[in-house]
Subunit: 339 residues, 2 copies
């Protein structure tokens, strides 16, 4: 019997990260948030926390060079990093850009990527201050974003407690619908749903304004941005906080465009809302008494809605989804179990 | 006549970077060193400057996964970033690691890469505080390194003035000899030359200690680390400072192992010393009066030699190499013109 060595593809992203970070030594005490979170945080002085995150767009994995708009690609590569900084209540400040460029890449395509990057950086008053260009076989846009936050304003994944409400900004499922339309452009969908879904996937709006409004009001016990999907990201909060969660299916703000695209594609919009990922909304928890002021602050700041979609429960009760018929289903990293 | 769009491979690294950065807006005044340098620098408070750099190792471009030692690969990926921070007189503090991993990559290989990264980070008392793992076709290790330096200690490329001496730490050409041995392992070379050359290529020692010794003595007018090659990196200093340079061939500290490998390979060790790159020594300039204290401080700090290899001249005199026979040859980005 031969033993095949374990391959990265056998493990998947999070178990692989765990295996690798086990090889690192524990960081120094000035490091407030280390490996495993979306954002690292460390003290620079008594009050100020510096934030750092990196997120990458790989051709073939995250985008198709021949089908995508390079300006939007540049904006998205920046926006998904901004979303990580927003999720901890921070302000984005400085980008570093690392490109891997196959020799045959059109320079004009790359210039448009950079214009998108510059546009998104400007929008949040961040600067692109450095970077690197290297040759390779596959186009890669790897951005590092630095940011800052005051220590008392830092939001984390780990503070959710039993009885907290689970809240989410805006709508969910639209980005998955947009991806579906990129893969199946021939689907018959009304024009405004098509545009809304594609925009959600290609031009996510990081919730910087909303997160800062939440921080200014206070009372948020945990927060994360929706990159992996509502079920998976809620799972990260539960893991970090040592709690369980119960969502009400009827309260989840599924985007209308996601419903329309799902109908045309013969798919379930709730599946996309829970498992689709890339919505870049804020998911957060707070005690019921803080709900009113928090919802109001977000609405005042940017007109974004906030939905109360469930509650934090004891860890033993696990993570579940309550349907209208009263049945309860397990939530998984990929979404929910229909049976 | 059809017009083929300009491709990245037509331009090369530096013109491509210029084309792309032209798309960015000018950074805010807190940014002390922006795009175009190896390290970005920005103020966090009155005294402290934060540094950020990123450098990448791409399979096929920078290393061959099937031939390299993954532990050494991890160390080198970290060390080349540390070298950038050293070149501005800084102290490395925090790493972020972004991996792109083909599914068939052995997890054990990646664990060894991480052990190397952890080892090199520990060596300089830096922490690995975050990162990202993504799928792709080609293994990529993209590291961002943050660091810090006091404003008055910040070394730059841009301060060289006419009459300054040009100085370099250690020896040069050994890394290129090591690369040659990786490509042609069958070359007949004595064992100690082989080990010295391969070590220089695979395990560079960033000159952190030496740079900090220079800063503590004072008087260094410009500095850079040798990544692209002595001739090219001296060119970066000349461009940034608006000066020319004249090197004396006989004063260049060509590594003995490079001479031995060059002889076996039928190559010229001086070509490797000037054009080979990846030696990760410090190249710096200083007025002649400061030479004694600077050389002494570096020797005291780490036992590393410093060689005086030429002088800064007026920009109109260009960049040249003086041979023993009195002939003067142009220096180029690739090395020097023999004719």
């Amino acid at each position: 019997m031969t033993h095949r060595p374990t391959q990265a593809g056998d493990l998947g992203e999070f178990p692989l990260i765990e295996r690798l970070t086990a090889r690192l030594r524990a960081p120094r005490p000035e490091v407030v948030v280390g490996i495993g979170d979306d954002v690292a945080a460390f003290s620079v002085d008594q009050e100020k926390i510096l934030l750092a995150t990196c997120d990458v767009q790989v051709a073939g994995t995250h985008f198709l060079p021949e089908r995508c708009d390079p300006f939007r690609l540049g904006r998205k590569a920046a926006a998904i990093n901004v979303s990580d900084i927003a999720a901890v209540g921070g302000r984005p400040t400085h980008f570093l850009s690392s490109l891997i460029v196959p020799p045959a890449t059109h320079v004009e395509f790359l210039e448009r990527v950079y214009e998108g990057l510059a546009e998104e950086a400007s929008r949040w008053e961040a600067d692109v201050i450095g970077g690197n260009v290297s040759g390779g076989e596959q186009l890669v846009i790897d951005l590092t974003l630095l940011g800052e936050v005051r220590l008392e304003a830092l939001l984390r994944r780990s503070g959710a407690v039993i009885g907290d409400r689970i809240l989410v900004t805006g709508t969910v499922g639209a980005a998955a619908a947009g991806l579906q339309l990129q893969l199946e452009p021939e689907l018959t969908v009304d024009g405004s749903s098509r545009i809304a879904a594609l925009d959600a996937f290609e031009l996510p709006t990081p919730r910087v304004v909303e997160a800062r409004a939440l921080v200014s009001v206070g009372g948020v016990s945990s927060a994360i941005d929706l990159s992996d999907g509502l079920a998976a990201d809620l799972g990260h909060v539960c893991d970090a906080s040592g709690v369980g969660a119960r969502l009400s299916a009827s309260r989840i703000p599924v985007a209308p465009c996601a419903r329309n695209v799902a109908r045309a594609a013969g798919r379930d919009a709730l599946d996309w809302a829970l498992g689709g990922g890339e919505d870049y909304q804020l998911l957060f928890t707070a005690p019921p008494t803080r709900l009113g002021p928090l919802v109001e602050a977000v609405a005042d700041a940017g007109g974004t809605s906030v939905s109360d979609i469930g509650e934090i429960v004891a860890a033993e009760r696990g993570r579940s989804l309550l349907l209208d018929d009263g049945s309860e289903h397990a939530l998984t990293g990929e979404g929910w179990r229909h049976f």
